[in-house]
Amino acid sequence: METIDISHEGLTALPGNTPWAVVGVVASGNLEILLERASPPDTCTVRIETSAEGFAPIWQAVIRDLVARHATGGLRIAINDGGARPDTVTLRLLQGLSMMAGA
C-alpha cells in the first residue's frame, strides 16, 4: 500500500452545495472517490491510498491537470485505488465533480 497526499491552493471555488459524493467501487482496475466540501474555498486536497505502488508522479500529473481545468476549490478528495488507469481516474473525478456541482 502507498499513501500519496497532494494539495493545491489559489483555486476557483467549486459551485453547488452538495456536501459529499462518492463514485466508483474499489475493484481491480477501478477506484472509489469520496469528495467532500471540507477544505478552504481556494484549496483542494487529495489523499490517495493505492495498492499499486510507484505511481506517485502519475497521480501528481492527473491531479495537476484536474485542478488546472476545473473549479475544485474547497474540496477534500479521498481515493481508494485498486490500480485504476489514469483515464479511468480522470473519468471518475469528473463524474464526482459533476455530482458535487449539482443540486
Binding site: 500500500m1 462518492v22 467501487v25 474499489v26 469520496l34 491510498e49 495498492s51 479521498a78 481508494n80 485498486g82
Partner: protein, 549 residues
C-alpha cells in the same frame, strides 16, 4: 434525462449497490447510516496490500418502500466479492438488532445480498458476523418484522450469504442470480473437476441459477433483471411474509425432505426437469413463459411424511469416554453421522442430545434429520435443554446436494436451533472435533454457548485453501496469522474472538460444567471477549443510529 427512470429500467445485475437502493426505494427517501464520510473501513486489508472501501462494501440505512418505513442493507458485489468482513458484518448485525431494539419498528428489512460469502482475509471475524446476523434476523422475524432477500447481483449468493438468504422470510431471484453454499470453484478445488467443472458456465447456471432455484423453491419469486421488478417483488414478499414459528418451519423442512427423497442423487437440472415432467428447454424460454411454467409447477403437492430416523445401536462417543455424558438407552446414529438421544444430569433431569459426529459432512440428508429431530424436541419436550455435539468436516461439497438446495437445508437447521432458543430451550454446543465453514455457522454459532474440547479444530477454511481462493502466498497468510486471530483456523483464534467461550478436557469437570450451563435459568449475553475488538462497539453504534435516524 430522468435518472431515476433510467435506474429503474436498467439491469439490476449491472447496477452498483447504491444505484440499486436509489431505484428500489421511494425517490429521495434513503438515509444512509454510517455513510462513506464516516470512513468505516476494514482494519485488516492494508496488511495484504488491498485498498479498503469507505463503506467496507455494504450500504445500510433507512428509507421508504411504497410509503412504508423499511431498513435496508445492500452489499457491493464488485468490492471483494461483496464478502462479509468484520466491519461489513458489524454494520449488518447492528442494523438487524436495531430493527428490534428501536422505538419505531420498520415495516420490513430488505437485504440486497450480493456476496461470495465470508471474506477470507478476515475469515474468522466474517464467519462470526454471519452467525450473529442470522440470529439477529431471526429475532427480527420473531418480532413480526419480515426480512426479505433480493438476489440478482454479480456475486450472489454463496457461502454464509446463502444461509442468511435461507433464513429470510422470503427471497426473490432473477435469471442471472445464483444461490448455493459451496461455489463451483470451491467444489472443483476441493473435490475435483469431475464433480464440478467450474468453467462450464451453463452447468453453473443449471445448478445454482435463478430459474433452477425458483423451480425448486429456493427462491419464492422470480424477478426480471430490473430494479423495478425487484421493487415489485419486495412489496409482494413483504405482504405474504410468513411468521417465524414452529409450524411454518416444520412445513418447510418436511417439504424439502420430500423433495430430497424424490430427487436425491440427481446431478443436473435437466434430470430434475425430466423427473418433474417439466419442458426440457426451461432455461431458454422467456422470463414470462418461465414464470407461467413455474407457477403451474408450484401448485400444492402432497408430500408424504418423512421416513423415521434410522435408530442405530446405542452410540458412545469415544472422545467422551471418561463419563462426561451418561447416555440413556435409546441413543442412535444414522449412517450419515447424525446422532440423537438423551442424557441425564446428576439431579436426574433429561438433556436432549443431537449432533453430527465422526467427521461426517453436513449434507442434505443429515440436515433433514437434524431439523426433524430439533422440531421433535421442541414439540415433545418443551424447555428441555439441548446439547449439540459437533465433529464435522463442513458442508458436503457435492453437485447433487447443491442442486437440490443445500443452503435451504442448512438454513432450516440454523432456524430450528434459533427457534428452540426462542422457545426457552438452553442450547449449548460441545465442539468435540472439527467444524468448518457453513457447518460451523449452523451447528456452532447458533448455540447460546460453545464449549470445546482442547483437541477441537474449528475453521472457516484451511490456510492452503484460503491461499488458493484469494491467490495470496501461503507464507504471507501464515505471517499475518501470527499477529491476528481474525484469519487463522484453529481453536485459539476462535476462543480469542469469542466464538468459543470455554475449553475443557473430557471428564467429570466438563460434565459438571455442561450440566450447569444447560440447567441455568438464563445465560448472560454477551460474555466478555478475550481479544478486544471494535466489532461489538460498532454493532452498538449502528444499533443506536438505527433508533435515531
Amino acid at each position: 434525462m430522468d435518472l431515476s427512470a433510467t435506474i429503474l429500467a436498467g439491469s439490476y445485475y449491472e447496477s452498483s449497490a447504491r444505484e440499486r437502493l436509489a431505484g428500489l426505494l421511494d425517490p429521495g427517501s434513503f438515509v444512509e447510516i454510517l455513510p462513506p464520510t464516516e470512513r468505516c473501513r476494514s482494519p485488516h486489508l492494508a496488511q495484504f496490500g488491498i485498498a479498503g472501501a469507505f463503506d467496507d462494501g455494504i450500504v445500510i440505512g433507512r428509507g421508504l418502500l411504497d410509503g412504508r418505513a423499511v431498513l435496508v442493507a445492500a452489499q457491493e458485489g464488485a468490492f471483494l466479492g461483496g464478502t462479509f468482513g468484520e466491519v461489513h458484518g458489524a454494520k449488518l448485525v447492528g442494523l438487524l438488532r436495531g430493527a428490534v431494539s428501536g422505538a419505531e419498528r420498520p415495516a420490513a428489512i430488505l437485504l440486497l445480498l450480493d456476496t461470495g460469502g465470508v471474506r477470507l482475509q478476515e475469515a474468522n471475524a466474517g464467519e462470526i458476523a454471519v452467525g450473529d446476523a442470522i440470529v439477529a434476523l431471526l429475532e427480527a422475524r420473531a418480532a413480526g418484522i419480515p426480512v426479505i432477500a433480493l438476489l440478482g447481483g454479480r456475486s450472489v449468493c454463496f457461502g454464509g450469504g446463502s444461509l442468511v438468504a435461507a433464513c429470510c422470510s422470503g427471497r426473490a431471484i432473477s435469471e442471472p442470480g445464483r444461490l448455493g453454499v459451496s461455489g463451483p470453484e470451491v467444489i472443483e478445488t476441493t473435490i475435483g473437476v469431475e464433480e464440478f467443472d467450474a468453467r462450464d458456465r451453463p452447468l453453473v447456471w443449471r445448478i445454482f441459477g435463478g430459474r433452477t432455484r425458483h423451480l425448486l423453491e429456493g427462491a419464492d419469486l422470480y424477478a426480471d433483471d430490473t430494479t423495478s421488478a425487484f421493487r415489485t417483488a419486495a412489496v409482494a414478499l413483504i405482504a405474504e411474509a410468513p411468521a417465524f414459528h414452529a409450524p411454518h418451519l416444520r412445513h418447510q423442512t418436511v417439504n424439502h425432505a420430500g423433495r430430497v427423497r424424490a430427487l436425491g442423487g440427481l446431478r443436473d437440472a435437466t434430470e430434475v426437469w425430466q423427473r418433474l415432467s417439466l419442458p426440457p428447454g426451461i432455461h431458454d424460454v422467456s422470463d414470462d413463459t418461465f414464470r407461467a411454467v413455474a407457477a403451474a409447477h408450484h401448485r400444492p403437492r402432497g408430500d408424504a411424511a418423512p421416513a423415521a430416523a434410522t435408530r442405530a445401536q446405542a452410540f458412545a462417543l469415544t472422545t467422551l469416554a471418561d463419563g462426561a455424558l451418561d447416555w440413556q438407552g435409546d441413543s442412535w446414529i444414522t449412517p450419515d453421522g447424525v446422532i440423537g438421544g438423551a442424557v441425564r444430569t446428576e439431579q436426574g433431569d433429561a438433556i436432549a442430545v443431537i449432533g453430527l459426529v465422526g467427521g461426517a459432512p453436513l449434507g442434505l440428508d443429515a440436515c433433514v434429520t437434524l431439523s426433524r429431530e430439533l422440531a421433535a424436541i421442541t414439540a415433545e419436550a418443551p424447555g428441555r435443554p439441548i446439547l449439540i455435539l459437533v465433529d464435522t468436516i463442513g458442508q458436503k461439497m457435492s453437485r447433487s446436494d447443491e442442486l437440490l438446495g443445500l443452503s435451504q437445508a442448512i438454513g432450516h437447521v440454523a432456524q430450528s436451533i434459533v427457534l428452540a432458543r426462542q422457545h426457552g430451550h438452553r442450547v449449548v454446543t460441545l465442539l468435540v472435533g472439527k467444524a468448518a465453514a457453513a457447518a460451523f455457522i449452523a451447528l456452532v454459532l447458533m448455540a447460546e454457548r460453545v464449549v470445546a474440547l482442547p483437541e477441537a479444530e474449528p475453521a472457516v477454511l484451511s490456510l492452503p485453501v484460503i491461499a488458493r481462493v484469494t491467490k495470496m502466498p501461503l507464507a504471507e497468510l501464515e505471517r499475518v496469522s501470527r499477529t491476528t486471530p481474525v484469519l487463522a483456523p484453529g481453536l485459539e483464534p476462535m476462543r480469542l474472538l469469542g466464538a468459543v467461550q470455554e475449553v475443557l478436557p473430557a471428564g467429570p469437570t466438563l460434565k459438571r460444567r455442561l450440566e450447569t450451563l444447560l440447567s441455568a435459568a438464563h445465560l448472560d449475553q454477551p460474555i466478555p471477549v478475550p481479544a478486544a475488538r471494535p466489532y461489538r462497539a460498532l454493532i452498538t453504534r449502528v444499533q443506536s443510529l438505527v433508533a435515531s435516524v
